[in-house]
């Protein structure tokens, strides 16, 4: 039976006659009908529920609040109903509903409060990162007291994971960077007939800056994020807690091997990147500028000092330390929900690339001022 609301007025008395099945779907339309009424001359109300066949709790709450609303307007209310089931629903709602209690709203904060909160959160984050670095060095000292404590097996495993398996992508990326740099500068150099200077340009820029930076960025995206996700997942599944209760320090088992492995691997990867980028540049120089590989290499050995190469390699362990510590720290920051793995992985990559670039800038200024 369909629901209908019949409204009529006799003198100053308003009759609301509900009939049929009154459920959550019919509330809105009845509410509109009632709101349109002119209640100024009305002094009494009768709710007629005799022909209702069904009443759900939402509709009962509506009737209840309707009654309350009219009561505040000093109307005398009478209610007629014969159906025991409907009476039951109404009395249940009356007993259990909490008209005054509202679900608390999330407090809106002012802009200044939000800025303050974020600043404080960042400050706490910085402190916890410092605490992490501190604990790392404490463990490092503790574990390096004897060679027996170094976990060579884990280091070898991580070397394979984050260095050997990254060789291909590092090689291809740096080869292409070499090609691009050579190609762009070849065009400019040709204008001045300074073809042979491509060797100086490529040698210094690639070995000093580009190869270390490109390698670090690839590794941050590849291995740094993997560290965060692995350790984050281990934290969620309580594996880290299990290790602690068994007396295995996660710093010794998970953190140190990863950092050491990456610090060993990075200079080697930079070396490969150096070679691949220079090969790329050499090919372009041959094709575009007519400089044969023999001539290229001869000029290379004459004008490029070994120090450029060593400076590039020297940056490796520093970049590796930054990438690995940030990746692992972010992994340890993962909270007990799946979302935070994603958030922390993103942060880990962004922060480690940023840290690498800042570190590179510092090195650049330092070495130039030292005249190296």
């Amino acid at each position: 039976m369909n629901f209908s609301l019949h409204i009529s007025t006799i003198d100053d008395k308003l009759f609301l006659k509900f009939s049929g099945e009154f459920s959550v779907y019919s509330i809105a339309s009845s509410q509109k009908q009632i709101e349109l009424l002119n209640l100024q001359k009305v002094h009494a109300l009768e709710l007629d529920l005799q022909e209702l066949s069904y009443l759900d709790t939402a509709a009962a709450i509506f009737l209840n609040s309707l009654e309350r609303e009219f009561a505040t307007k000093n109307l005398t209310i009478t209610k007629t109903s014969t159906n025991a089931e409907i009476e039951n629903v109404l009395s249940l709602v009356k007993k259990e509903s909490l008209p005054k209690a509202t679900i608390p709203k999330v407090k809106k904060r002012s802009l200044i409060a939000t800025i303050g909160e974020h600043t404080y959160a960042n400050y706490l984050g910085f402190l916890s990162f410092m605490a992490f670095i501190g604990e790392l060095f404490a463990t490092k000292l503790y574990y390096l007291r004897s060679l027996k404590n170094i976990r060579f097996k884990e280091i070898a495993f991580e070397l394979n994971e984050s260095a050997i398996k990254a060789l291909l992508i590092v090689s291809i990326t740096s080869f292409l960077i070499g090609v691009v740099i050579a190609y762009q500068s070849a065009y400019q150099l040709k204008l001045y007939g300074a073809n042979i200077f491509i060797v100086d340009m490529l040698g210094i820029s690639i070995m000093r800056e580009l190869a270390p930076l490109i390698t670090a960025i690839v590794i941050a995206g590849r291995s740094g994020s993997a560290f965060t996700a692995q350790i984050g997942a281990m934290k969620i599944t309580e594996e880290l807690d299990a290790m602690r209760t068994m007396g295995f320090d996660p710093y010794a088992f998970l953190v140190m091997p990863r950092i050491l492995a990456l610090m060993i691997a990075m200079p080697l990867l930079i070396f490969v990147a150096d070679m691949m980028a220079i090969i790329g540049g050499m090919i372009v120089a041959n094709v575009d500028l007519g400089i044969t590989p023999e001539l290229f290499l001869e000029r290379f050995s004459n004008v490029i000092d070994a120090r450029h190469f060593f400076i590039g390699l020297l940056k490796g362990p520093f970049f590796a330390f930054l990438i690995a510590t940030i990746g692992i720290y972010r992994g340890l920051m993962v909270k007990n929900d799946t979302q935070s793995i994603g958030v922390n992985t993103t942060k880990s990559v962004v922060e480690s690339i940023f840290a690498v670039i800042v570190c590179d800038a510092v090195f650049s200024i330092l070495f130039t001022n030292m005249g190296i």
Partner: protein
């Protein structure tokens, strides 16, 4: 029977919210001791404090004669070898298979030969009711019940005196849960373990526990045997134990 664990006036505050305020309890040697209470009362927190995963803000916890507040690194490592912990979801190391998981403490802490380790691992696998043929499976390849059994085998690897179980039967079907209870009783009688566990499972509570502590309203509402638990004055105890027995 000596006292193995003594918790004295422990106070825990977590993000400004007081969770425990003056908790006291004693666990005797050889008993199966249950931590009960409404959800959110800090049972698991107390368990984590006992195994040194979490700091508390006041009071003392003594385990096997060591005071956890003043313990030195060396003694803490020694203590950790004397207990086994079973986490709610097992917490098996996902990069290792079952045999490697169980063997890990043996490999790290002893100079045993591989053959000896294999033999010990096979024994532990057998004692918890797993098949030796499952030893090469990885944690992702086995069911929840098997994970718990394997994690129990790992917890028993170093033959600890003390076993902590965090909701050992949660997430298991009723049959596996009863099997697990029987297993715990069997292990206690075979190996003379002292077991502390957090549980919600009434059947498991009545079947296995010797003594219980009920945490309610930041304090211990009752400590003692199950027979007298209903004598205590606590809403939780009335609703939890009221309709049973």
């Amino acid at each position: 029977m000596g006292t193995i664990i003594e918790v004295k006036d422990v106070r825990t505050v977590f993000k400004g919210k007081v969770i425990h305020d003056g908790l006291n309890l004693k666990v005797n040697e050889g008993e199966i001791y249950g931590l009960l209470g409404p959800s959110g009362c800090g049972k698991t927190t107390l368990l984590r404090e006992m195994v040194m995963l979490q700091k508390f803000q006041g009071g003392d916890i003594d385990i096997l004669g060591y005071n956890l507040c003043k313990i030195r690194h060396k003694n803490a490592q020694k203590l950790r070898r004397n207990w086994g912990v079973l986490f709610q979801a097992g917490a098996l190391f996902s990069s290792l298979n079952l045999a490697q998981n169980i063997a890990l403490p043996l490999v790290e802490y002893t100079d045993l030969s591989q053959k000896m380790i294999d033999e010990i691992v096979a024994f532990k696998i057998n004692i918890v009711g797993l098949k030796v043929g499952d030893a090469l499976l990885y944690p992702s390849e086995i069911s929840g019940g098997m994970k718990k059994k394997a994690a129990l085998a790992r917890a028993l690897a170093m033959d600890p005196k003390l076993l902590f179980l965090d909701e050992p039967t949660s997430g298991l079907d009723p049959i596996s849960a009863r099997e697990f209870d029987a297993l715990i009783l069997k292990l206690r009688s075979l190996l003379g373990l002292t077991i502390v566990m957090v549980s919600h499972d009434l059947r498991s509570i009545y079947d296995t526990l010797d003594r219980v502590a009920v945490i309610d309203k930041k304090k211990i509402a009752y400590e003692g045997t199950l027979e007298q638990v209903t004598s205590a004055d606590s809403d939780f105890i009335r609703t939890f134990f009221g309709n049973n027995k």
